[in-house]
Subunit: 221 residues, 4 copies
DNA sequence: CATGAATGAGTGTTCATTCAT
DNA sequence: AATGAATGAACACTCATTCAT
C-alpha cells in the first residue's frame, strides 16, 4: 500500500501529514484534496452520476487539475479503492496473524468492519456499492483484491477447524462467505436504512458485532 | 403482482401465452421481446452501459418502438424489477405461509433463491447489482419493496422463536439480515466468480442451501 | 372557400351541419372534429408544441385517422387558415363592396375584427401568431392570401381619397398598413394581456373600434 | 442594461472592444461569436428550425462550446432579446426624457425603429417574430419587458395631453398601442415583403417615419 | 503546477409519418 | 373508414478528456 493508512489508524485519526512525503507537499495536498472530495461526492451521488467538475468544485481546485493527478475518472475510484481496501485488509491481516482464538479474531473483524462504517460511512458506501458492483467486469485485479479478504478469513476458519475450535464438516470457504455476507448485509441495511437505530450508536454496533459472531458460532437453533 | 409469474413458475416455464391478455397479442409479444432483450443486455453490460439501441437490436425491433412500450430506460428496469422481484416475493410468501417448521421453510427459501440464480443468472444479476444498488437513492418504493423480503423472513424467525424452535435471545430482524446476507453473498460470489464450482452444479446448489441453513441454525462452533 | 363560413356567420353560430355535404356525413364529421380540435390545441400550445397525438386525443379519434384527412401536420394549419381567413376576407369584401362612406366601412371592419376576437380568440391567436409568423418563409401562397386584406382596405382608402373623403397626400397602401397595424396590435395586446379590461367586454370592444377609426381619421393632434 | 449598446450606438458601430471586459478577452470573443451567429441563423431559419450545430458551424467553433457559454438554446434567444431590446428601450427612454415636443419625440422613435430595422433587419426579425410570439406563455418577464416600451410611449402621450399638444378625449394607452401597431406592421410588411421598395431605401424609411407620425397626429380625414 | 476554455463523440428521447390489419 | 403499432431520422444536451497558456 503506497498510502498505508488502514482502517484502524483512520479510526484513531493519527497524524495525517506524516504519510505525505512520497510527493511534494503541495502536490500531495492537492491529490489528497481530490481524493477526499471524490470520496464524499461518490458516496453522495454515486460514481456514475459524479462529474469531474463536481469533484473539482468540492475540492475547490481547478477543473483540469484533476487530470494532473489522475489519468481519468476511473483511476480516482481505483485509488480510493486500493487505499481504503488496502488499509482494511492490513487490519484484517493483523488480526489473522495474532495469537488469539477464532472467536476473538472474528469479533475483532466484525468490530473493525462495523466501526469503520460508523466512522466513515462514505468509504464503506463506495466500497460496497461503487466498486464491487459498478465496474465488476472491467478490472480482474479488483476481483482478486477483494478475494484477499475471503482468503484471510477462510484461513482463520481453517485454522480454527484444525485446532478443534470449529466444526470440521463445513467448507471453510463457504462458511467464510456466509460470515462476510452477514456483516455485509448488516452494513448494507444501514446504508439502505431498512433498519432504524434507537439509542447509542456505538453500543448498537458492538452488540451487532457480538450477535453476528454469536450467531455464526452457535447458530440460531 | 399484475404479472404473477414467480420464480418457481418461471423455472417450470408454464404456459406463457395465458398471461398475455392484458394487452394485444402482438403488443404483448413485442413488450416481452423488449423486456427479455433488456434483461440479457442489462445483465451483460450493466444498466448504465446499455444503450436503448442495444435493446432494440437485440429484440430485433425498431428503435422507437421501445418508447412505445416504455416511457424511458429506467421504466424498463423498473418493470423487470417488479416482475421478477414480485414473483420471487410471492414464492417466499407461499413458503412463509405453509405449515412446516422453521428449518424446512428456510431450506425452501434458500433453495428457491439459489435455484433461481442457477436457472436465470441474468435476472439475479440485475436484481442484485442494478436495482438494489444503482438507483438506491432514487426510488423509496424500491427500498420498501426489498424490505418485504426482510419482513417475511423476520416473521418466520419470530414464529420459530415463539414455537420454541429457535433461540429467543437474538433479535429476529438482525438474524434475518444475517441469513439473507449469507444467501446474498453466496450468489454474489458466484457472480463475481470468486468461488469456482467443480462437478454437478445442481448438487452444488443444494449442498449450499443445506449448508447455509445448517450454519444458520447450528452455528460453526 | 370550400367551407364558406365567414367570421360573421361564425359569430351568429348558424346551422353548422348544413355546410357539411361536400363529403360523407361521417367523414366530414371527423374532418371537422379534427379541425376543431386542432384549433383549440394550436391556440393553447402553439403549432410547434402540438403533437398529432394531442389533436387526435382532443378529437377523440384514432391517432392514424388524422392522416386520412390531412396529408400532414402543416396541412391542418393550412386548412384552418384558409377556412378562417377566407371567411374573414369574405366579410371584409362585403363591407368594401357596399355603398357606405369610408368611415362606416372602416368602423365595420374594426368591429368585425375585434368581435371575432372576442368570440373566438383561439382562431385569432392562430391567425396572428401561428400562421403569419411561424411558417412565413414556407408558403408564398400564405403571404399572398394575407395580402388580400391589404388590397381590400387599400381600395377602400383609395376610393375615399377619390371621393374627397380622405386626404390625398398620403399613400393609401401605407395608410392601410397603419390602420391594420393599429387593429392588430390591439388584438395582440389582448392576447398578451398587456392591457387589462374592466367592466363590460362588449362595450369595450365597440369603444375600441370607434377609437381606432377616430384616431385614424382625425389624428391625435 | 448590462451591455449598454443601444440601437443608436449599434448603428454608429462605436468602439466594440470597450464593452468587453465583463469576461475574459477570449471568452467574450467566443460568446459574442456565438450570439452573432445565432442572430443570423435565427433570423434566417427561425428559432425552432435552428439547430445548435448550425450556430456552432456558423460561429466556427466547436459544438459543445455553445453550452459552455449558454445553458441551453433558449438562453441564447433570451440573451439576444435582453441585449437588443434593452438597447432599444434605452434609446426610447432617452428620447422620452428629452425636452422636445410630442411630435419630435414620436418622429425620433419612429426613425430609431425603422432605421434599426434597415441596418439590422435580422435583429428586428428576431425581436418581432421569434421572441414576442414563440415563447409567449413561457416567460412572464418577457411580456413585462415588452410592456416597458408601451409605458414609455404612453407617458409621452400623456404628457402631450397635459401640455395641450394632443387631444385629451382618447385613452393614451390605447393611442400608444395604435401608434406602436402602425410601426410594427410597417416593419412586418417589410419582413413579409408585402410592400416593394423602389429607389432609395433611406429616404423611404424617413418618409415612412414622417407619414406614420403625420397620420397619427393629423389623421386621414 | 495550475487554469478553464475547447472539443466532439455519444445517447436518451421525441414525434411526424407510414403501414399492416 | 378506422386503428394504433411500427419506424427511424433528428436533435438537444452531457461530460470525459485534451490543450493552449
Amino acid at each position: 500500500m503506497n498510502d498505508s493508512r488502514n482502517l484502524e489508524s483512520q479510526m484513531s485519526d493519527g497524524a495525517r501529514e506524516k504519510a505525505m512525503h512520497d510527493r511534494t507537499e503541495r502536490g500531495a495536498d492537492k491529490r489528497r484534496l481530490i481524493l477526499d472530495a471524490a470520496i464524499t461526492v461518490f458516496a453522495n451521488k454515486g460514481y456514475h452520476a459524479t462529474r469531474i467538475s463536481d469533484i473539482a468544485q468540492h475540492a475547490e481546485i481547478a477543473y483540469g487539475l484533476v487530470y494532473h493527478y489522475f489519468k481519468n475518472k476511473e483511476k480516482i475510484l481505483d485509488t480510493i479503492f486500493l487505499e481504503r481496501w488496502g488499509g482494511f485488509i492490513d487490519a484484517v491481516q493483523a488480526i489473522a496473524d495474532d495469537e488469539r482464538g477464532v472467536e476473538e479474531k472474528l469479533l475483532s473483524i466484525a468490530a473493525v468492519t462495523l466501526t469503520a462504517y460508523r466512522r466513515r460511512p462514505e468509504w464503506v458506501k463506495i466500497l460496497v456499492f461503487e466498486i464491487q458492483r459498478t465496474q465488476r467486469f472491467a478490472d480482474p485485479d479488483r476481483v482478486r483484491v477483494v478475494g484477499q479478504l475471503f482468503q484471510l478469513i477462510t484461513r482463520i476458519l481453517r485454522e480454527g477447524q484444525e485446532r478443534g475450535e470449529l466444526r470440521e464438516d463445513l467448507d471453510p470457504a463457504l462458511a467464510c462467505s456466509i460470515f462476510i455476507g452477514g456483516l455485509d448485509i448488516v452494513v448494507t441495511n444501514r446504508v439502505l436504512d431498512l433498519v432504524k437505530i434507537e439509542g447509542d450508536e456505538n453500543a448498537y454496533y458492538v452488540k451487532i458485532a457480538r450477535t453476528v459472531v454469536d450467531l455464526f458460532l452457535n447458530g440460531m437453533g
